[in-house]
Symmetry: C2
């Protein structure tokens, strides 16, 4: 296992609903359904939607977030192929969150009611789903802790480490973030202005904690980021 791979796996939870594909979900729900194609910036579902549907991402990246009444966007999570998206419809209609493709993506759409039906006969699957929800919750609490107690550089490092463990790919000694995230989007993940993110990223870059590569794909030096002290 390379240093980069080790660095990846040290990291805590994969909060996204990974690996559901490899369970019986796949057999029970997905066969015979075609994947929908989404263009970059296309909306899978939006705040206010009343359809209770869940998506199984097959390709690409999807951002989960919301819009505030003042029109600001906030991003909770980035999900990738193999993840489930839209699980919050289990309790709220109309929806309060939204999911948007970050680049061309494919996903299979399944009504929530069919999932519940499938689960009803399959307790093991339900226990697993419960654990997955629990992981999401733990991740959300982590974000609350970070937002409430860290300054911008600290929050930025936390978000980057979270991205590395969720969607990162080993690239030599470093970890690459395969999704293209604008600084604006990163700023919506750390709760700060884009300008601050710009300077904070450059500060981290000057210290050798990360590099930019083509088209803004970040290269993270995870170990260095982890023992970052302001």
């Amino acid at each position: 296992m390379s240093a980069a791979e080790a660095a990846l796996h040290e990291s805590s939870v994969s909060s996204a609903l990974v690996s559901i594909f490899r369970g019986k979900f796949c057999d029970a729900l997905l066969p015979g359904r075609g994947a929908l194609h989404f263009a970059a910036d296309e909306i899978l579902y939006d705040v206010g939607d009343r359809n209770r549907v869940v998506f199984f991402v097959r390709k690409g990246f999807v951002k989960i977030g919301t819009l505030t009444p003042e029109g600001r966007e906030v991003i909770y999570d980035i999900r990738k192929d193999g993840d489930v998206v839209g699980e919050l419809c289990a309790c709220h209609t109309p929806r309060r969150d939204r999911a948007v493709a970050l680049e061309p993506a494919e996903a299979i759409r399944v009504p929530y009611s069919e999932i519940v039906d499938a689960l009803r006969g399959n307790p093991d699957l339900l226990v697993k789903l419960l654990e997955i929800f629990c992981n999401c919750l733990a991740d959300a609490y982590d974000q609350i802790t970070t937002l409430a107690s860290q300054d911008l550089p600290g929050r930025l490092v936390q978000v980057l480490l979270g991205l590395a463990s969720k969607i990162g790919r080993p690239a030599g000694e470093a970890v690459q973030i395969p999704a293209y995230l604008t600084q604006e989007e990163i700023s919506q993940m750390v709760g700060a202005r884009r300008e601050r993110v710009s300077t904070a990223l450059n500060s981290l870059r000057r210290r050798g904690l990360l590099e930019y590569s083509s088209r803004g794909h970040l290269l993270l030096h995870v170990a260095a980021l982890r023992d970052f002290a302001p």
Copy 2:
């Protein structure tokens, strides 16, 4: 229904795991178990614990939160009688969260394994539990949104409204918060210093959006708080 009651029920989710008592959980898990007694500030479970146990609160209030590496405390939620506490053990050992009694409290302790066993034969219960987790998650995302996009007065108002809907009791035209929360604890819920909370609370009080009553128990004018504009 009084104005205060109406104001309470308009409010969104009760994120705490309310009403599990009234389901079959009660019959399946609780009979024959004695409630444990906790003194004020006594710890139900702490960061680092490896026991997978869940508590059913019967009396009093419990704060759920964590301690940051720098020693700061962050509070995610306040739970009361009828709520479940400790559900995060479904996915993480050692624990990363902690639960502390706010005042003398009673709770029944049940190992997580026994809950899973009980759930296995009871799909309906599991679906319900799933919804409850989902509510918690939605509430956590709300907090992220608030922390990332609002200034201190806004965050404070959000937290107070959340408390009103979760643990508030109608008291005339207002809603009373029956738990005694210090300003320090409120500050750990809004991600700000205690001093700022002091001045912000006084500012809200001067505008007639809330009152102090005996022993710091807050009286909230929910409708006024809801259309609060800085």
